[in-house]
Symmetry: C3
Subunit: 313 residues, 3 copies
């Protein structure tokens, strides 16, 4: 595996989940696998959980991680080929990625979408420019359209907590105060469908996700109906995809609460964090026994460790 940027196939996903669970019970079992190697963690957007969990994953494999916060360290990158660079952008991604390619053995990149340029975002323009010009194995730390380390952690968490072979997994839209990217929702759909779960997606009309990611899921606009008999409920806001980047609905009744789960007594609740309490999800759920959010967060370490070890091998 050279690139860890998306769901590839069920067999690889199963293998990564298995490996992650082995690392969870024995984090240092491959503690010299990455000895003498370096990973550059490149952030074009802020991160705490992703940064720290990936640092820990690398360290568990004996690998040195060096963080570059390019958003904060004043190094605005020009992405367009042929640009005449007489404006605010300090360096072209061709040159920056080339240099990073000669400094590291593996690179990991976070690059959020613009939410204004739908076609560039949809083709994951920045991630692909970076891959093309660095020449190295690349791990996505969340791109414009996918967040594959989050989704692997989510699949590990479902695997640890499922009570039946093919659980009913519901991805439900939730209210938020800002326009949020689609990456977590897209990836969760892509991975949970790909892993063979029984997937329902529920959201207000107008919030349809890009069909590339939802093919194979049931789409149900009635949230109550969607939630009935759910085994896992994944709560997430996203902005509109068709009316790209827009906030179309602020209906607070979409917030997930205990009352909403009355017809899903066994439902366990998931969220990628950070979560807006009492906006997306109620305190009662987050602080109750249904919540898996802390398990998901912890599994980020082992998801990153499994992806990285697969690349190193």
């Amino acid at each position: 595996m050279k690139y860890y940027t998306q769901f590839e196939n069920k067999s690889l996903a199963d293998q990564l989940i298995q490996k992650a669970l082995e690392y969870k019970s024995n984090p240092f079992m491959d503690k010299t696998l990455g000895a003498g190697k370096r990973i550059g963690l490149i952030f074009l957007n802020p991160s705490l959980r992703t940064r720290v969990s990936t640092q820990i994953a690398a360290s568990n494999l004996g690998m040195e991680a060096i963080v570059l916060n390019m958003d904060k360290e004043g190094w605005a990158l020009e992405m367009e080929d042929g640009a005449i660079m007489n404006q605010g952008k300090v360096e072209h991604i061709r040159d920056a990625a080339g240099v990073l390619g000669s400094y590291f053995d593996v690179l990991a990149l976070r690059a959020f979408p613009s939410l204004t340029n739908k076609s560039e975002d949809s083709e994951d323009f920045i991630l692909n420019q970076f891959i093309k010009h660095s020449g190295l194995p690349v791990i996505s730390l969340e791109s414009a359209i996918r967040h594959p380390l989050q989704s692997l952690a989510d699949m590990i968490t479902i695997d640890e907590h499922k009570n039946k072979e093919r659980p009913k997994v519901v991805l439900t839209w939730a209210p938020h105060i800002k326009a949020i990217p689609h990456a977590v929702a897209n990836s969760f759909a892509e991975w949970s469908i790909g892993c063979g779960h029984d997937v329902t997606i529920t959201h207000p009309e107008g919030y349809e996700l890009d069909e590339r990611f939802t093919h194979g899921a049931t789409i149900e606009h009635n949230q109550d109906k969607a939630l009935a008999d759910a085994d896992f409920v994944y709560v997430k806001n996203w902005s509109a995809f068709n009316e790209y980047g827009k906030i179309l609905c602020t209906d607070e009744s979409w917030m997930l609460s205990e009352q909403k789960l009355s017809k899903a007594p066994n439902a366990q609740v998931m969220h990628c964090l950070p979560v807006r309490r009492n906006v997306e999800l109620s305190d009662e759920i987050l602080d109750g026994s249904r919540s898996l959010v802390q398990h998901q967060a912890q599994n980020r370490i082992y998801a990153a460790q499994a992806a990285l070890s697969n690349i190193l091998k």
Copy 2:
């Protein structure tokens, strides 16, 4: 010891001072004590000296330190239980502390006071929320009301430089251009009284510290009188506690100078740094032989190492 947040008792303080001095002469004597363990250094406010000295202390013990500058990395934390998070705060401390609790073995936190909410600051609200929700051993890197690693470094420095069993230690208020927290002054009083030194505190009227910390000290508003025959003079600005967070006095004559020490020929002068030269303290003192400020700063490493090793054991 699970929490290092305040002065506990003289016996523990003596033990920590002793241990720190051992580390100072042999920094790597416990170089595998923290092997395979990680400390998260969480900064809600800026730091250089504290961050670097604690990183070095951890590294001397073979422990990995990972720094999170939450103030600068855009992760404003909601602290209030039950909040409806539809404003600027991105994540609740319950969730953030929970995640950090699953990523690290020990946490260290810097959280300054608001200087506007006296009751929350006085109960060290943020530090205690963090302790409650992380579930881990916690070291304070300066809280709203205490700075116990600074004070331990100060006690080590006094121990190294004292010429009598029970030195006269004077904490003197100094002018400053900003409203400064009480933490360093509170902790210095708490530790130097607790360690059995003969403590006098001098400040303009209105600058009384919280009595919890000064019980056992002589309070003397006449600075000249207070300084007479001092063995150690600790210079520090703080804002008013009763008229909470206010600047009541800008009297430049409170700046410590050589002339002020004419009746304290043996006085050695301390400050936690950073110091406003020629505002709090004159150049002549800082650059002369009375100054212990560089010793204090260096001892920060060994104070942190002693506190951390006590937690690890």
Copy 3:
């Protein structure tokens, strides 16, 4: 060697180039040389390439590197002796450098020029204050007037790619949209003249560099004439030195392009990066076979490693 801040003599330069090439073929050959030692990388101005390459160099030598971004971590330093610090500056360089001197074994500093105070910049005031008050070996990560690690990397690159004993090396001014320091240009002139290359410098009138650095070079205002038969062309913008810090010329025809190199068929092109594409240099050159910019960037690691190992020994 205690200070690595400038070109010293050809013999030392040759020795450093040789050592760097050995590290390039065997990065871990001295992997325990820095064991138990620490380098503080102090940035008063932003950096990515310099920071990462120096971190990697230290790590290759088994040395721990700790980064302090003093520009971003809110610690504005007072530089003037005797200042009354009642303004925005938080700490005096005397105190800060003293503390850093007790925390580390080696220090490295980046301190750009003001471009407004010619005499302070010209005497490298900040770097020298820092050296004076830290008491430690110091490596310059670019000062007001020199960038010696960049120049060592450049000399290594010329050595690797030269086809004759004494190549013709041309330093050519290029357009830019901002007022840029002289450090890279000064140092490149100082090192390439000192290493014995046949050096020509070309720039519009008014852009004369400080003669301290250019003594021994041919100055030629006609760019076409200067470029004829060049073996290496180093492209760089700088602001005026005589009319200090001013932009006197924005003539786009000074941009280096293939057409300009028609009379220099064997010319290889260098730039320290980051480069403004199609402002300083055309895409066709940067993406073509003449470009050495990626080699220069990679050699930054081995230049830093050679300088650091020389200091450690």
